[in-house]
Symmetry: C2
């Protein structure tokens, strides 16, 4: 009961008027317990309630994992027979005395699968959004966490550097993505990457969330590569955009605008500044250039143990930056049906400013 | 409106008394639409209602993806400002006229995030479990799908074969897992693996869902490797267990029992047999040997576009096997604190029997 992270959690819960919090497998569960559970058809939940040892509902066959827990847990295991699962949820709820209490949930992680068991076991409970309490713990990274993120950045950069000489006209997006994935792993990433690399060429590069296709690189393409690595549970997330052979002058021009917008966004962060300031700084450069309508996303997102987390760099977000917050700056210009450009770096807020963890060359560069 | 898969979906919905179905990013969405959306903090849902073009609620910046849809869709895009998102959900619900209808959901996929927007936009609707209707479409694989799964099996087998000569005493589980991941990709897997390989040695091998650690292989270990590959959206999922140097005679003995149990489970499937028969066949071998208490999981799970899907090989599952169903057979004996053994193959039900897609050597084998 004196595990410092849990004490912090209970304080955050008090500030949010939550009697309990329930988490299922995902980044928050790993963050709070150090345990690895995968999301599956077998529901797993942990209840955190001040004054009680955390209670976990889990399959029998995963109980061995609890030996690695940094604190005592009450375990309510269930067998492979689904009709017995509601009972395990009831026991967990009962052990914490929260049948009629407010049990905070994480809307981004908890599924209907777990939720229906919870509702059934605690029909009088309410299930408010606990994101604020949970995010308040995770959003400030300490120096250990920053060191891991720096390492994830270096792995990612080294991986792409190893790939650049291999990029050839005629290579498919999928082939390049496979090679980059291999290089990310060879350079020391954990096997579960934050996301599968995006390699998007020509018209596909105008799609911000493109998936690599069989399209082959051709002269005149812009080539967006958005990739990241994982180190000890912490992520990097970077983007660079290349020209394949000689490209239309307009694409070189938008590359320069995005480079300037990214620079403006990178330097705009500091303790005390609102997230909006980062978005506005980058967006203003693109709007002044006349391409504002082609930059239809926020400028960045928080980064850490999830690919996207708080804080978000949006023009309407007045959340104040504090030392230890980490986020991406990734403005872009996307010309539908033609080409797109994005440049993305990973920032952290220092005691008196902001620093980019990534430093790979951002200037216009021809490959192929 | 004449897209055959949708016609099948609408029939399955009618049989389940569902007016509509809502899916969010995941295997079912990809299966029904061929589109790739990732689950994120920006909710995406598609409504399928007979007589209407499917309606999608999605971020502005992902609308380019809809060009790849095989059928017409009504799009309700939203901007980066979260306060505007409820409106997009309302419009989608309104377009399908399902504000007071039964809207089926997938409990394993849908999150509280999407669910709360749905409840708000359709306060009079009910949200029953649509798994049965959706699973009925996916559970029978056609010959194209089987061909993709066979390919995923071959990629996985070739990858492990390439790794076996590299396994050395003193190597860590993580190092071996990294090498295996690289080999899976080099052998042609899609970059998003069904799961990150499990490499579990010694006491860790008794944990069925182990995550690779820094533990180094030592003489006397059993070494469980559970790995898979992806090909064009379809998965393989295999396990082999090796002996590191000379091992205790008991471990060689349990390896033989598991090998026999796996064989019994593999031959037990056929059209008309219940899933339970597969589980019972494998389990009986282990129970007769006296190790029944150390096999505390089901014998297998369905496999296809998800790592675990219907049908499940459990002793209480009377679901009848039909040609085209695919599933794993993976009995094991797990001696807590000591060692574990598991052997897993990927089966498909033929017109008059069952066939294993995997054929890699299963006999006791010493490595290191």
């Amino acid at each position: 009961m004196t595990y410092p992270l849990l004490e912090k959690l209970y304080k955050a819960m008090e500030a949010s008027n939550l009697d309990s919090i329930v988490v299922n497998p995902g980044p928050t569960l790993s963050y709070l317990t150090g345990l690895s559970f995968h999301i599956s058809e077998r529901p797993v939940v942990i209840f955190f309630t001040p004054g009680k040892d955390p209670a976990i509902v889990l399959p029998d066959l995963e109980t061995l994992k609890l030996g690695h827990s940094p604190f005592e847990m009450q375990a309510f295991p269930y067998s492979e027979t689904p009709s017995e699962w509601p009972k395990a949820f009831e026991k967990g709820i009962q052990a914490h005395g929260i049948k009629n209490k407010s049990i905070g949930v994480e809307p981004r992680a908890l599924r209907i699968l777990e939720y229906r068991f919870l509702e059934q076991a605690a029909p009088g409970a309410t299930f408010p959004d606990a994101s604020k309490a949970l995010d308040s713990l995770r959003i400030i990274k300490n120096s250990d966490e920053i060191a891991k993120m720096r390492r994830a950045v270096i792995i990612a950069q080294d991986a792409l550097k190893a790939c650049i000489p291999l990029i050839k006209i005629g290579m498919s997006e999928k082939e390049l993505a496979a090679e980059l994935t291999i290089q990310i792993l060879k350079n020391g990433s954990s096997p579960e990457l934050p996301f599968s690399p995006i390699v998007a060429s020509g018209p596909n590069s105008a799609n911000q969330h493109a998936v690599p296709t069989d399209r082959r690189l051709q002269v005149g393409d812009m080539l967006v590569i958005d990739w990241g690595a994982a180190f000890d549970g912490y992520f990097s997330d970077l983007t660079r955009t290349f020209a394949v052979g000689e490209v239309d002058a307009e694409f070189q021009k938008i590359h320069k605008i995005v480079q300037e917008a990214a620079e403006a966004g990178r330097v705009a962060g500091k303790p005390g500044a609102p997230c909006a300031a980062v978005d506005i700084a980058a967006r203003t450069v693109i709007e002044k250039s006349g391409y504002g309508v082609y930059f239809n996303s926020r400028t960045g997102h928080g980064l850490g143990i999830e690919g996207h987390e708080n804080p978000y760099m949006r023009g309407d977000n007045l959340q104040i930056l504090e030392p230890g917050m980490c986020y991406t700056v990734e403005p872009g210009i996307y010309l539908p049906g033609r080409n797109g450009v994005r440049i993305e770096d990973d920032m952290f807020v220092t005691d008196n400013g902001v620093e980019s963890m990534s430093d790979m060359r951002r200037e216009f560069q021809v490959v192929g």
